[in-house]
């Protein structure tokens, strides 16, 4: 049987590059109102946290007994912009303090989640990919880790050593990765048996390459979307640590220690304990809004339910 060139159908090659999958997800997410609202709130908060304390020139730790316990202007009788959210029991500006607290909280929350992702996903991938003894060792490790309640571990470690920012990140990160490892492992275990992994072995891809180029794009996105919610969780944990005095130490303001201080004045100066909470709440809401609409956009592209 002879075959000639003309048997091959001629198909026009497009000159323009189609939009990549990631870009299409962005586009869909950007079109939704929820994402926009979340993104605007988040950007404003982050910009404010980064810029306002510097630009206003107000020192968050500067005491001023004369102006102590001022109510926010919209509450009290003296209308003044000097302290838009009032002052605390020793006359420190609440807005600046809350924003600095947000700064620490966000930084610690984000870094912790990144740390958790790195440890959890890499260990989970390795365990699921190789199976057997490797899997057993790693999974026993996660079991051991899971059996120690996070808050007890944090109190022990941070109570004994000095609670610096890296220490807090490490403690929070090290105590929460097992969940990520477990989820990653189970996905990798099922995916590993699929034929495309076999095909990759046959075209010569190394194990590392298969894990990074083929399995990671499959495993990571859903986990990363979920981890957005964990940023919020970790910010709360950071506040708890601050509240019980094991977070970043005063006089540096954090949500936790501001609330702890304000607790005593809750009846006559409610804003001290409330303001950090409001900021925390706004920040978490905006993160969740963005996370949820990204997840929905992803499902639209990959054909899941929306």
């Amino acid at each position: 049987m002879s075959v000639t060139e003309t048997d091959i159908p001629v198909i026009p090659v497009p000159t323009q590059r189609g939009a990549s999958v990631a870009r299409r997800i962005w586009r869909i997410a950007l079109a939704s109102n929820e994402f926009r609202v979340g993104a605007i709130i988040f950007t404003v908060l982050v910009l404010a946290a980064l810029l306002y304390p510097e630009l206003s020139g107000i020192d968050p730790t500067k005491m001023s007994v004369a102006t102590r316990l001022h109510a926010p202007p919209f509450m009290g009788d003296k209308w003044s912009w000097t302290a838009p959210l009032g002052t605390d029991q020793i006359g420190r500006d609440m807005l600046v303090r809350s924003l600095v607290g947000l700064r620490y909280s966000l930084f610690i929350g984000l870094s912790t989640v990144v740390l958790m992702l790195i440890i959890g996903c890499s260990l989970g991938t390795v365990a699921g990919y190789y199976g057997g003894r490797v899997d057993m060792v790693i999974m026993r490790l996660t079991d051991a880790q899971l059996s120690i309640p996070m808050i007890i571990l944090a109190i022990t470690v941070l109570g004994v050593s000095r609670p610096t920012i890296p220490a807090i990140i490490l403690v929070l990160g090290l105590s929460s990765w097992p969940v990520y490892a477990r989820v990653t492992r189970s996905v990798v275990m099922t995916e590993r048996k699929r034929e495309y992994v076999r095909a990759a072995e046959i075209y010569g891809a190394s194990d590392f390459r298969i894990m990074v180029r083929l399995l990671a794009p499959l495993v990571l996105p859903p986990i990363i979307f979920v981890s957005a919610l964990d940023v919020a969780r970790m910010m709360i944990f950071e506040s708890i640590l601050g509240f019980i005095g094991l977070g970043v130490q005063p006089p540096t303001p954090t949500f936790g220690n501001i609330i702890a201080d304000g607790r005593k004045y809750l009846l006559n100066a409610w804003w001290i304990a409330t303001m950090p909470g409001v900021f925390l709440c706004l920040c978490l809401t905006s993160i969740n809004l963005m996370g949820a609409s990204l997840e929905r956009a992803r499902n639209r592209i990959y054909g899941g339910k929306s």
């Binding site: 091959i8 090659v13 095909a199 075209y203 891809a205 390459r209 180029r213 794009p217």
Partner: protein, 607 residues
């Protein structure tokens, strides 16, 4: 057909409800089905066969919707019946689908499940009697030792046995009407032949009328009295089987028949023999591979599965080499050895004279480049969340062959070569058809410009038309790139069409190696003959299934009986076969077969 029809279908239409209205899937279907009749329904994939089969038993779920028509069974319109009444009808109407593993509950013994079903639709049957009936039927569908099998779990059944258990499940209530949707698709030819024979027996033993749906005309024509041809949701032709095959009326039917590969004609072979070559490109020498598996019901004891036993053969450059055999015969293990996903326990696999088990580093990478595999399952073999262009780029990146724009150009040219539009470059494989997915698979293998391509059941999941197109593509690629193909398949018609030489495997051994025409016209091993007798075909059979094939399944590779492994199913077995195992014996030319009968004829000829 005489008598009053059991089932009358009139103007049946089913549509898919989408946002913008209803898209018709099947429209205006009408036919009658008499008692004891087998009606075959054929059509390409996407013709609406499964939707039709489900509509017949009123099993249409949203977003599908019956838009018009009636299915009248014994003067009641099934489609209008309330759920309550329909339930009582379920004992008369049965349905068997194509996915036996998915249809059985893995946590219950098979027999118990079937009894459960029987008692659900016929509560008046006492438990003991139900049990007895199920065991009888398991025996009737030729499940060996039904008493024991009754208590086993679905995972302990082979695919063929599960399918037969499902048939029992459908028959246990003595249905008057059975819908069999693609029941033989997951089965080997030999088992499929057994199931077909069973279907025909049913019509006489239980007076069942059967609607038998399949995409393979030869298969349907083996079983059915009449055939309905379905194309794009419409009946284009209806004839008595013999007439349909002999004088098809509609052009679609004619095309369908012309695409069916013929086996026992000289035009069946669509390839030229390769230039007589010197050095084999692959040679496998006495390779053996066993696995240790945990023994069932024990805590720490293992048994050995001998998946590939003493396999030896050569493949020459430019050749199309076929490896055929039933599932579980060791084809896949052999493929894993050839592609060095695993190393043999003993023996060697040589590629270009090098033992591939010893390769590492650069040498291994070079081997990987020359030696590519196209896998079976079009849905599992592509990473679902990677764009098609990126999938094909990956091998190039792995080997560091090209980068940037060059990479893209190379991928686009390969996509063009296998007939994929370049517009798919940034698309995900989600929306692709099975045929297109297999093209992506081929492109991923071809992009490295290999010398050898192994096709591991690459075409078995595609329908006739797609198979035909892809085979043409493979021929083109071979002409342009001088490829060597190894086809691993259970589809003998395809092997007949494309392979120069064929190795037949049974229970981990190669029992025969022969040139294409010798294998098909003068098989040396009784197993080859049995396989050939079971091939569904429209032609006059050269080998009668009754003469060649004994019932039953191959013995388990865990405890192999002594002697020739085919003894338990061989119609020609004699004393010696039970004690000694025959080796591959030359029977003229390069053809070899492992059977004492070959030896005997040779010694007779010499004497």
């Amino acid at each position: 057909m005489t008598g009053t029809p059991l089932l009358k279908v009139r103007d049946l239409s089913v549509g898919l409800e989408t946002g913008g209205g209803i898209r018709p899937i099947i429209s205006g279907i009408g036919f009658d089905l008499a008692p004891r009749e087998i009606l075959g329904i054929i059509g390409a994939s996407g013709a609406g066969k499964t939707v039709l089969s489900r509509a017949l038993v009123n099993w249409i779920d949203p977003p599908l919707k019956v838009t018009s028509g009636s299915v009248i069974y014994k003067s009641q319109n099934i489609l209008d019946l309330p759920a309550q009444k329909l339930r009582t009808l379920r004992r008369e109407i049965a349905y068997v689908g194509a996915n036996p593993a998915g249809a059985l509950d893995p946590t219950l013994p098979v027999g118990q499940q079937i009894v459960e079903k029987l008692r659900a639709i016929a509560p008046e049957v006492p438990h003991d009697e139900a049990r007895k009936r199920v065991i009888d039927l398991l025996g009737a569908v030729r499940i060996p030792s039904p008493q024991m099998r009754y208590h086993e779990y679905p995972s302990q059944f082979s695919g063929g046995m599960m399918q037969r258990a499902l048939i029992v499940d459908a028959l246990v209530s003595n249905p008057a009407f059975l819908v069999a949707d693609n029941v033989t698709q997951p089965l080997d030819v030999t088992v499929a032949a057994q199931v077909l024979r069973l279907m025909r027996e049913l019509t006489t033993r239980f007076d069942t009328a059967i609607v038998f749906i399949s995409s393979s005309l030869p298969l349907v024509s083996d079983a059915a009295d009449q055939i309905l041809v379905l194309a794009e949701g419409r009946v284009v032709e209806r004839q008595v089987t013999k007439a349909l095959v002999a004088t098809p009326q509609h052009p679609y039917t004619r095309e369908l028949i012309s695409q069916i590969p013929k086996i026992w004609t000289s035009e069946a072979v669509a390839i030229d023999p390769p230039a007589q070559s010197r050095e084999p490109i692959i040679s496998i020498l006495d390779a053996t591979r066993s696995y240790r598996v945990r023994k069932r019901g024990t805590f720490a004891s293992y048994s050995t599965v001998r998946a590939v036993r003493n396999v030896t053969f050569d493949v020459f450059p430019g050749e199309n080499f076929g490896i055929v055999g039933e599932s579980g015969c060791g084809k896949s293990t052999l493929m894993r050895l050839l592609s060095r996903l695993e190393r043999p326990d003993s023996g060697h696999v040589l590629c270009d004279g090098q033992d591939i088990a010893r390769l590492s580093g650069k040498g291994l990478l070079k081997f990987r480049r020359d030696f590519q595999l196209v896998l079976q399952d079009p849905f599992n073999s592509l990473p679902p969340r990677t764009a098609i262009g990126a999938i094909i780029e990956e091998p190039l990146k792995t080997h560091g062959i090209a980068r940037g724009e060059q990479l893209r150009d190379r991928v686009l040219s390969v996509m063009h070569e296998v007939g994929l539009p370049g517009a798919l470059y940034d698309e995900l494989p989600l929306g692709l058809s099975a045929g297109q997915r297999q093209r992506v698979n081929v492109a991923r293998a071809m992009v490295l410009e290999p010398k050898v391509l192994i096709m591991d059941e690459t075409l078995s999941s595609l329908d006739q038309t797609e198979q035909f197109k892809l085979l043409k593509l493979f021929e083109q690629l071979q002409v342009q790139h001088g490829l060597t193909y190894v086809y691993i398949s259970h589809d003998l018609a395809m092997v007949r069409r494309v392979c120069n030489r064929v190795a037949v495997m049974y229970l981990g051994e190669v029992v025969e190696i022969a040139d294409n025409s010798r294998l098909f016209f003068d098989p040396g091993h009784p197993y080859t003959k049995a396989l050939l007798s079971a091939v569904p075909t429209l032609e006059e059979r050269r080998y009668k299934p009754e003469d060649c094939l004994l019932e039953g399944e191959p013995p388990s590779p865990i405890d192999l009986p002594p002697g020739c492994s085919f003894t338990s199913r061989c119609p020609n077995a004699f004393g010696r076969c039970h004690q000694q195992s025959p080796v591959l014996t030359a029977r003229g030319g390069k053809d070899l077969a492992a059977c004492f009968l070959v030896e005997n004829t040779l010694t007779h000829a010499a004497a």
